[in-house]
Symmetry: C2
Subunit: 301 residues, 2 copies
């Protein structure tokens, strides 16, 4: 059960990572005094001052379990967030989901225009790999390479972009539960799993030692999406900072449409319990990951 | 001067690299048997069977000067070409340059649709870094990191994407020659320079030893763009495989509009001579780079 202590520790951790990620993007995205200024302004609009920063918190919380230097973990977390933000910019485009609001602000193509939105997304995409490969990344080049492969796989056609493609196809075909599960494992699950994995990679945890953390990440990734599906139907647009109820309007099958509200909710709680179970061999150092898992199904945005 | 020997050696090299790049993409882009199939088909449409492969040839020709294993150089060249192809897909979108034809085929958004084009570009972007960081890349992780930083910098907001942003702004402002030069150094020059640089990185040429090659790359990058500007006005659309005369129609200043045809042509030849001059300390092993430099201003597509 959620305790007052873990709730307040989690709230503090969210505040801290939001500040740290904002500061990191602010330093990385200094607006140049030339015609590229608008590109940087668009990147800043999307990357700074918004979002829950769930992926950065997953990464830094995992890294902190193994006493990884926080400044390094935050920097690597910004690479993951840069990928997430680029995907939101492109996903919101008129030719994709056509959304006007994101994180309580106009989407990039609304605040700027479609062309700037395409380039701002592309630029944040490149920035992510520049961060991971650069001189301020982890000093061990094997670890850098591991981080880069993990993020590239999670974001490419066998991860996030592949999931978005399946999501486009979901409007034309009635997907069954295994197909919706695969779609979501790729679309959101892959990057959530990569966040935990990269925290462990930073700590040089060998592949064998990452099995439990992988199980945790896999379960919360799916729970996160089921909770999102529920909020898409039951949530408050003002709180969410974006339009809701879009999947049903587009005729897409979701966990909710396939399972019904009650079973979907049960499944999300089951997955969170299972995720926490994967952390059984860890002590208090995993409390933040446990609180995060609970938050994922209890949040209202 | 161009000799019959170097012409035929260059033609052979172009044929060989085209075949090798096609084979590499063919192996990397196996179409999956799930709803992502259309995404892979779109990536294949754009990446296989078209284009001059100038960047891959620059990379493999530079690597060959230092006896780098060809299969490895081709793989790294495919990462650079994946970035180039993704940029073409996004650049051709209706909200960007709005082009219907590319490399003699319908553009991706014409053959598929805008959403698939966005995702196919994003997927090729991620694929590039997956190639460079993966297990079949260079075995030395320091070299892998160097390749990745070089490609990320050349393609991000301080390289190609920044140049594309300046190109968008060029429709609204009358750029002067230094600004057009900066635009082109970023938009096309950065990736051309990265191609040569990455060939040298693969060979573990120390930074000091890359100065001459950098000068070569910088000069041919600009010459390439001046030649492109000239072809945009004087070229044959059927040969080029794309629409021409777009810059003048959009009211953009170019090397041609700023210098006039005669001076632009002189400048391109001057840059090629200067580029070849940078290779003076190299012997016959640099002949392919010399032939490539001449080709850049003598080509008709």
């Amino acid at each position: 059960m959620t305790t007052a202590t873990s709730d307040s520790a989690l709230a503090d951790a969210f505040r801290q990572i939001s500040d740290d990620v904002d500061a990191c993007f602010d330093a990385l995205l200094t607006v140049p005094d030339d015609p590229r200024a608008v590109l940087y302004q668009a990147m800043r609009h999307a990357a700074i001052g918004g979002g829950k920063r769930v992926r950065p918190l997953l990464l830094t919380a995992t890294a902190a379990m193994f006493n990884v230097d926080r400044a390094l973990a935050v920097r690597v977390a910004c690479a993951v967030e840069a990928i997430h933000v680029y995907s939101l910019i492109h996903d919101d485009l008129p030719c994709m989901d056509d959304d006007d609001m994101r994180r309580g602000k106009p989407t990039v193509h609304k605040a700027f225009n479609d062309a700037v939105a395409v380039l701002a997304g592309d630029s944040l995409h490149a920035l992510a790999f520049e961060i991971l490969a650069g001189s301020q990344s982890h000093p061990d080049p094997f670890i850098r390479a591991d981080l880069i492969v993990t993020l590239a796989e999670a974001s490419g056609p066998n991860g996030m972009a592949g999931g978005q493609m399946m999501d486009l196809e979901a409007e034309n075909a009635k997907f069954d539960l295994p197909t919706v599960t695969k779609l979501q494992r790729l679309k959101t699950g892959a990057l959530i799993a990569a966040s935990v994995e990269m925290g462990a990679i930073l700590a040089n945890v060998p592949v064998e030692g990452r099995t439990a953390l992988r199980g945790y990440a896999r379960d919360i990734g799916l729970a996160f999406q089921i909770a999102d599906d529920i909020m898409d139907v039951e949530g408050d647009e003002a709180l969410a900072g974006k339009a809701l109820n879009k999947d049903a309007a587009a005729g897409k099958e979701t966990f909710l449409s396939l399972l019904g509200l009650e079973r979907a909710r049960e499944q999300a709680f089951f997955l969170v319990d299972q995720a926490i179970g994967h952390l059984a061999s860890h002590g208090r150092e995993a409390d933040l990951l446990r609180a995060l898992a609970r938050y994922i199904v209890e949040r209202d945005t």
